[in-house]
């Protein structure tokens, strides 16, 4: 069927309006990219601050992956760190020990992480696992992964980790690596926005609302879920692999549950689960909190736990959707009452 996307009022828009709507949907991505691109200028070339900013981008990217897996299709993967670590260790072992070219080793790591993510989704769908059981199974995988890495000491360096040689200037320089990870984040955001408007995005929205209703409407719920797990795991794997080569050091701690999963959950809970820019806003916020809490040392983890509890109990909607609502209400109050609410209920409504 070639009919264009119906607009919010059900009328069929012309091709020009359609293109306009499509471009407008990517506007938040472009604005975020522009703002983030200016960050190095604002930080005045401080190596320390740049490394914090890069870390924030890494977590924003992880969180976008989690948004695809959990935010879109409700699969609670508690193994983001492990998936990232699978890709990271695979890439480092292949590049440093086997002499593979970096692009190939990273790709192999990503493929492996993607396959594992797809497998979890497939098992969850086949066994009809609920949110909690998906959480338990993937958390168990996180534990297995950590133990495996610690046990295979000759390969991985065990608990102390190992130095990573393969990398290159682009991945290591404070400014260049910032822009590299920014490129990844912007790419992920654009992909996320595109997915939202696609058939798959509609399937995710529907199955998140009511999987049985989605199935009755003709949505292949199993396929949509597996697709979410696969795409999200690929994103997480890519970041995990790049991060290892960027840091020039790899250890189980970099991919530990407490280090990755807990923080990513804070990021998406704070930013807004399933919102486009939520991961970016949440990751910036986490970076600031990280700095403020630095004097606490190991106690920070306890604070993160408490923060996660507070966010999930009291503020699950997240800051981005909350702000978007305020803006919508304000705009509606300014326009005559019969005017359509700005973009509500259309594909471009979530910022």
């Amino acid at each position: 069927m070639t009919a264009p996307v119906p607009s919010a009022d059900g009328a069929t828009p012309s091709a020009a309006t359609c293109r306009h709507t499509t471009l407008r949907a990517y506007l938040p991505v472009a604005i975020a990219a522009a703002v983030l691109a200016a960050v190095p200028l604002a930080l005045g070339g401080s190596g320390y601050l740049m490394s914090l900013a890069t870390t924030a981008l890494v977590f924003a990217a992880y969180a976008i992956g989690m948004n695809v897996i959990f935010g879109s299709s409700g699969q609670l993967f508690l193994c983001l760190g492990a998936l990232a670590g699978v890709a990271g260790f695979t890439s480092v072992l292949l590049a440093d020990d086997q002499g593979w070219p970096l692009a190939l080793s990273v790709t192999t790591g990503v493929v492996l992480a993607t396959a594992i993510g797809a497998l979890f989704s497939w098992v969850a769908v086949r066994r009809n696992l609920g949110v909690i059981f998906v959480g338990i199974v993937t958390l168990a995988f996180s534990l297995v992964f950590t133990n495996l890495v610690q046990g295979l000491r000759t390969l991985t360096g065990g608990e102390t980790g190992r130095v990573v040689d393969a990398g290159g200037a682009a991945l290591r320089g404070p400014i260049s690596s910032y822009y590299l990870f920014l490129g990844v984040v912007v790419g992920f955001l654009a992909l996320y926005r595109w997915l939202e408007g696609s058939r798959t995005g509609w399937a995710w929205r529907a199955l998140k609302d009511d999987p049985v209703a989605a199935e009755l409407a003709g949505v292949d719920v199993a396929r949509a879920r597996i697709l979410a797990g696969t795409i999200g795991a690929a994103m997480v794997g890519l970041i995990g692999a790049l991060f290892a080569h960027h840091e020039a050091f790899i250890s189980p701690t970099s991919y530990a549950f407490a280090h990755v999963d807990v923080r990513v959950l804070i990021v998406i809970a704070f930013g807004g689960i399933g919102s486009l820019l939520g991961p970016v806003v949440g990751a910036v916020m986490l970076g600031v909190i990280d700095e403020v809490l630095r004097p606490l040392g190991q106690l920070r983890l306890a604070v993160y736990g408490a923060l996660l509890l507070a966010l999930f109990l009291g503020f699950r909607r997240g800051v981005v959707p909350a702000v978007a609502d305020v803006v919508t209400t304000w705009r509606r109050a300014r326009t005559p009452s019969d005017a359509p609410a700005a973009g509500r209920g259309t594909r471009a409504s979530k910022h």
Binding site: G10, V219, G345
Partner: protein, 233 residues
């Protein structure tokens, strides 16, 4: 169009449908009537693939659909509207309708055609479906199903939980659909009087078996049906 042969349905060890045969011709309007717990919903849930059948055969336009997943049966042209409606509560009325056409986009004007059948939906286009009243939700559920462009529309208790005036409104729309002879309509209903006023033919289900079948007129005149379902002594 739809043929159910010797169908058995069970929940665990408890068998609730014991060998039902139903046959519906293209364009026919057929009622599945009976009291609460007779097995009507279990029969329909098995037909649309929401619950596995224990044994038997289900054919849609000659092709076996037994064991197929629900989404595939829906795409093959059989759309089921459950008694509990199953809307997408967080989506707007319009998005619910658009979702009905998944995986395609509705043909231009199709949404307007469906909304014309249920004018109440027009006013509520941008409202979240979860905020609709019961009657409006039922209308939206039927509207969403129509956007799938089904060949067979299966409605489970469309008057459940509705005030009589709203049930009348829903049935008025169903009468319009009945006159569209491209659509095959299957309707499960406990309000037997209402159903018999609409359908061409009906099956009376009792305790998981077909007790009686016949044209609407035959069943209206049947003394057993009158006594058990129509409140005529």
């Amino acid at each position: 169009m739809l043929r159910v042969e010797d169908l058995y349905v069970a929940y665990g060890d408890i068998e609730v449908v014991h060998g039902i045969d139903v046959e519906v011709a293209p364009g026919e309007v057929v009622g599945i009537i009976g009291s609460n717990g007779a097995g009507k919903s279990s029969l329909l849930r098995a037909v649309c693939g929401l619950h596995p059948a224990r044994s038997g055969e289900i054919r849609l336009a000659g092709r076996s659909i037994i064991g197929d997943p629900t989404f595939r049966i829906a795409r093959a042209g059989l759309t089921y509207v459950p008694a509990e409606r199953r809307l997408f509560p967080d989506m707007t009325v319009l998005d619910n309708l658009l979702m009905g056409a998944y995986p395609q986009r509705p043909a231009p004007g199709r949404v307007d055609e469906v909304v014309a059948l249920f004018p109440r939906l027009q006013e509520r286009r941008r409202q979240a479906a979860g905020t609709l009243s019961g009657g409006e939700q039922q209308m939206l559920a039927i509207g969403r199903a129509l956007l799938a462009g089904p060949e067979v529309l299966v409605l489970d208790e469309p008057s459940t939980g509705l005030a009589p005036a709203l049930a009348d409104e829903v049935y008025a729309a169903l009468r319009i659909l009945r006159d569209d002879r491209d659509l095959t309509l299957i309707l499960a209903e406990q309000q037997v009087g209402r159903a018999l006023a609409l359908v061409d033919r009906a099956y009376v289900i009792e305790q998981g078996r077909v007790r009686l079948q016949g044209t609407a007129a035959e069943l209206r005149d049947d003394p057993d049906v009158q006594r058990a379902y129509l409140g005529i002594a």
